[in-house]
Point group: C2
């Protein structure tokens, strides 16, 4: 089966974004990630810096928003979610691409011809990798991973009602720590 | 990375056993499934028919055993689990192979060089497939699937304390309904 769009969900530090970019590069199609944030910002009127802070994976406003009763209507996070959803649907209309994160798997589920991918790896591999890629921080790499994964999973669950990391929600799940990033790219290319 | 053994966990009707057999055939290595049951029977002194009834996926004694307090010591199911575990460890020692089901993924986790695989598919695909492969029954195919999956998941959880179908427990998870059985075989061959 041929797929026009690859959506990648990933654990923090698993190399999912690198796999997405490299797969897109080798297939000669665009990969949307920070570009997507910019486009969302432009179209929704949100400041880009706000969107970065309120992103699925950061310690911004999402958790507070998740516990809001919505008694005063949708939260700023809800508007952001809706703006991102529209951008993703437009990108999917525009042509073949890879989209990393932002619940694109769920948003495009019924709308596009997608290969839905989840990339994960064990804690040790990810801890070593985030120090290499993002450098040392005051928190331990393990703490940074736990915190970021927890927020990504909560965000995904809140806005999509799908369990993050549950195999049945994806067409393919790959352990990048064990299989290696290049092998993951090879497999996605074969399935595209 | 080269793998000597492929373990396949699978949802009922997903074609996991077929994928295992075909992969083994194309790789020129054995696939253990009913052979494994026979070998277990011979070595443990259990009657083969008893083992088939008490298998991970059937409506035999497992559920009753799961709720036993073990006040009178291990249940017959516990002895069977131990016998199967020994057989799987011996098979893994003997040489490269594919092992379908029976918690081989968990049993061999620390002991062998394994590619751990989970095969799943949506309910519609599996319902159609079990009628083709196993024929009509009095129960609807959907009922048969729900019942069998529930037992497999409960068995796996009880004896391994690992969540069945959770992506992080496997190196690769594949949606056979979407990707197709042949493509799943191709990917496993590449990763072996």
């Amino acid at each position: 089966m041929k797929h026009r769009i690859i959506t990648i969900s990933r654990e923090f530090g698993s190399g999912g974004r690198t796999i997405g970019r490299e797969t897109a590069k080798q297939l000669g199609i665009p990969c949307y990630d920070s570009e997507l944030i910019q486009k969302t910002a432009q179209e929704s009127g949100f400041e880009e810096s706000y969107i970065i802070n309120a992103d699925e994976s950061t310690s911004g406003g999402f958790i507070g928003s998740a516990f809001s009763t919505r008694a005063f209507g949708p939260t700023a996070e809800d508007y952001l979610w809706e703006a991102q959803r529209k951008v993703i649907l437009e990108l999917a209309e525009k042509g073949p691409c890879v989209i990393v994160g932002r619940c694109a798997d769920s948003i495009l589920r019924e709308k596009a011809d997608c290969l839905t991918v989840f990339i994960h790896a064990d804690l040790k591999y990810r801890a070593d990798r985030i120090v290499k890629v993002y450098g040392e921080r005051q928190e331990s790499p393990e703490q940074r991973i736990r915190e970021k994964d927890k927020r990504r999973a909560a965000y995904h669950r809140f806005y999509t009602d799908m369990k993050w990391g549950y195999a049945k929600n994806y067409q393919i799940c790959l352990d990048s720590g064990n299989l290696g990033i290049n092998q993951c790219v090879n497999i996605l290319k074969i399935l595209y």
